[in-house]
Amino acid sequence: MRAPSSLKQEFLRKWILGLQICSSSAKSMSISERKKAIKLSADIAMASARNGRTSWSRALIASASKDDNHGKLFVQQILGSDCERLTKISTSIKRLRCKKILKKSSGTIIRRRMKRIPDKAVASSIAKQMVNKRTQILKSLVPGGVFMDEVSLIEETLDYILSLRAQIDVMRSLADATEMMMNC
């Protein structure tokens, strides 16, 4: 499944905006500093290309705008006027869902201790536990995943994977083009 080219174009446009910020300090940056700046601006650019339509992108932007290094700067530059609107939404969603999760988890623990599980159900409960465990890992990998319910998580994961692939395609093209230019 190839990523739509309009998404890539949008990403590239925003990424360029972000990278131009570093141009003045570019000479004094170490390789690892520049790498972090490139990566951060790419992530923020891809998230902003989703225009606040997905949870993961809003969560990524929200956490980046708290970053001390260049995060806040990139967010302001890349998002422009949308900056305030998008960062505000994420915090309110976070607070709401935190309460939901606390309530849910305390209920489950008590229930498990009191119930006696018959042998036949053991296998299916193990399967369920594995799914739960893997779901938790997935939640830690997708930005803002810990606040999502299962259906949203899968939907967000789908979008997140497509966006990552688009981001990688564009970054690879730029790296290849730069390399080619330097070798001739």
Binding site: I16, K35, A127, R134, I137, L138, E150, V151, A175, M181
Partner: protein
């Protein structure tokens, strides 16, 4: 079964099994490992595991590409014509 129950409940938070199955199928389409195998025999747990591995590998690629770009851009001789092109584009 539980899917019937959830459809009757009609609340916003109750989700049907069919919805989940459909989403998981879409997810499987994206995963390079599972796409080519026997379609119906893959468990949800396996799909989740493959998804996590795939996302981790995508993160690694972003990281590697950032590293590669950083090195490329730093080795460009500052006064060369190539640098001017790239500078006008991004840096």
């Amino acid at each position: 079964m539980s899917s019937r129950r959830s459809r009757q409940a009609a609340g916003v938070s109750r989700i049907s099994d069919d919805q989940i199955i459909e989403l998981v199928a879409k997810l499987r389409q994206l995963l390079p490992e599972i796409r080519d195998r026997r379609p119906q025999k893959v468990s949800a747990s396996k799909v989740l595991q493959e998804t996590c591995n795939y996302i981790r590998s995508l993160h690694r690629e972003v990281d590697d590409l950032s590293e590669r770009l950083s090195q490329l851009l730093s080795t460009i001789d500052a006064d060369s014509p190539e640098a001017a092109i790239i500078r006008s584009l991004i840096m």
